[in-house]
Symmetry: C2
Subunit: 254 residues, 2 copies
């Protein structure tokens, strides 16, 4: 059995706790939570600690806390030369104090509280400074997911920015669509199957091949109609910029 | 049995043909195709015509062709006072010649050639000038879909613009994400579960509640890092505008 402990009790930490509890090859020894009650529904209280000094020796410590707090917390760990990883998409492995052996365990998914996720399908991007640590990290990852990638800090930075576009920014476009519907007395539910199919389409087709609409058809008349319909200047700008982006990409393809 | 004929042989027409073929209450009498061979895999040749003069009398004619051609085609129809609808999201019912009784039958979905869609889940937005025609149109719609909406031309215009945001524009963000991955030697496949979950999340949560990321956290340091990473000026602009949109919407909510 590989022994691990998790530091953190937020959204990512809770999903990891749930996933590791079901693993037969991993023993989840302790979880550090500033407020123990946040995770008492997930673990027996004897496994929950609220000071770092209580951390016992394990094979791997997973720090799953806010980006801002990772560096300070890793400085404060009361041990050296053990294997410590963080779960952040945006921070380099160097953010961890080098008194310990360092790595990254980045689950590429958006986690919602109280919404279960099939962890087997969550891609895990792994990185470590030492080969032997990587082998252990990979075993830990494989115990909960079928989708494992070796990704450097440099690659991860670009991946995280790409994730902002396809997740955070896409969600804002959903929000704009929702707002247009609400303001015009149209049920947003009408768009939901379209939203699912738009995502589903690129599971098997490249986004550039899946592109449709007035922008790619260079249907300037429809584009102008839409621009004069939109009253919000910011939405108008977004409409123009993305239309330009669709047309530029299309031209590159030709 | 309600008798219908379809005018058109493109993507939307083909998906409609497939759906109506399986309906037990609708008789698909004829399909007009400029090039008959485009749909011979779907229908017996005796049902396929290639001149409008061959159209026999039915209860409903569905024009499923490019927006640009709808008006001219409806002028050319060799009959009057019959019930004729188009399938366009962006055009008012007035685009049809008023020598016939007019309506709209707009399926809100993105159709891909050779990719089957469960038509039962496709929302159909209906409109007609006359009450009696609406009743017939609704019966036709219910024979292939469980999701029927009465939507006026004015509502449909806003719905179509909202659809551009959540479909065409979202796809372009997928494309930008893909490009960032490819340029940095990261498999785009890593982002696919995130893309599906981002869409899936708003099936049960409003987009404004589902929003996460550095923009809504007002994490200016991360935003600046991302902006200096992006070399493409257009993508930088899109990043800035959508970040502003996320923050503005969030402030409105407070």
């Amino acid at each position: 059995m590989i022994k691990i402990s998790i530091i953190g009790s937020g959204n990512v930490a809770q999903h990891l706790i749930t996933a590791f509890k079901e693993s037969s090859t991993i023993q989840l020894v302790q979880v550090y939570a500033r407020h123990r009650e946040t995770i008492t529904h997930l673990l027996p209280t004897k496994k929950i600690i609220n000071t770092l000094a209580e951390l016992t020796k394990v094979d791997l410590y997973i720090i799953a806390i806010h980006d801002d707090a990772i560096s300070t917390l890793s400085d404060t760990l009361p041990f050296t030369n053990r294997f410590v990883v963080h779960t952040s998409g945006s921070l380099s492995v160097d953010y961890l104090n080098n008194k310990n052996r360092r790595g990254v365990f980045y689950p590429v998914q958006t986690f919602t509280k109280n919404k279960t996720i099939d962890f087997k399908t969550v891609p895990l991007c792994l990185e470590s400074e030492h080969e032997a640590d990587y082998i252990l990290l990979k075993k830990v990852a494989q115990s909960i997911s079928d989708s494992i990638y070796s990704i450097s800090s440099k690659q991860r930075k670009s991946l995280h920015i790409a994730a902002i576009f396809v997740n955070n920014f896409v969600n804002n476009l959903y929000q704009i669509g929702n707002e247009i519907c609400v303001n015009n007395d149209v049920p947003f539910a009408i768009l939901k199957p379209l939203i699912m199919e738009t995502a589903n389409k690129i599971m098997s087709l490249s986004p550039i091949k899946a592109q449709t609409g007035p922008a790619i058809r260079k249907d300037q008349q429809t584009i102008n109609t839409h621009l004069s319909f939109l009253e919000n200047e910011l939405y108008k700008d977004i409409y123009k910029k993305i239309t330009e982006s669709i047309q530029t990409n299309h031209d590159k393809e030709l």
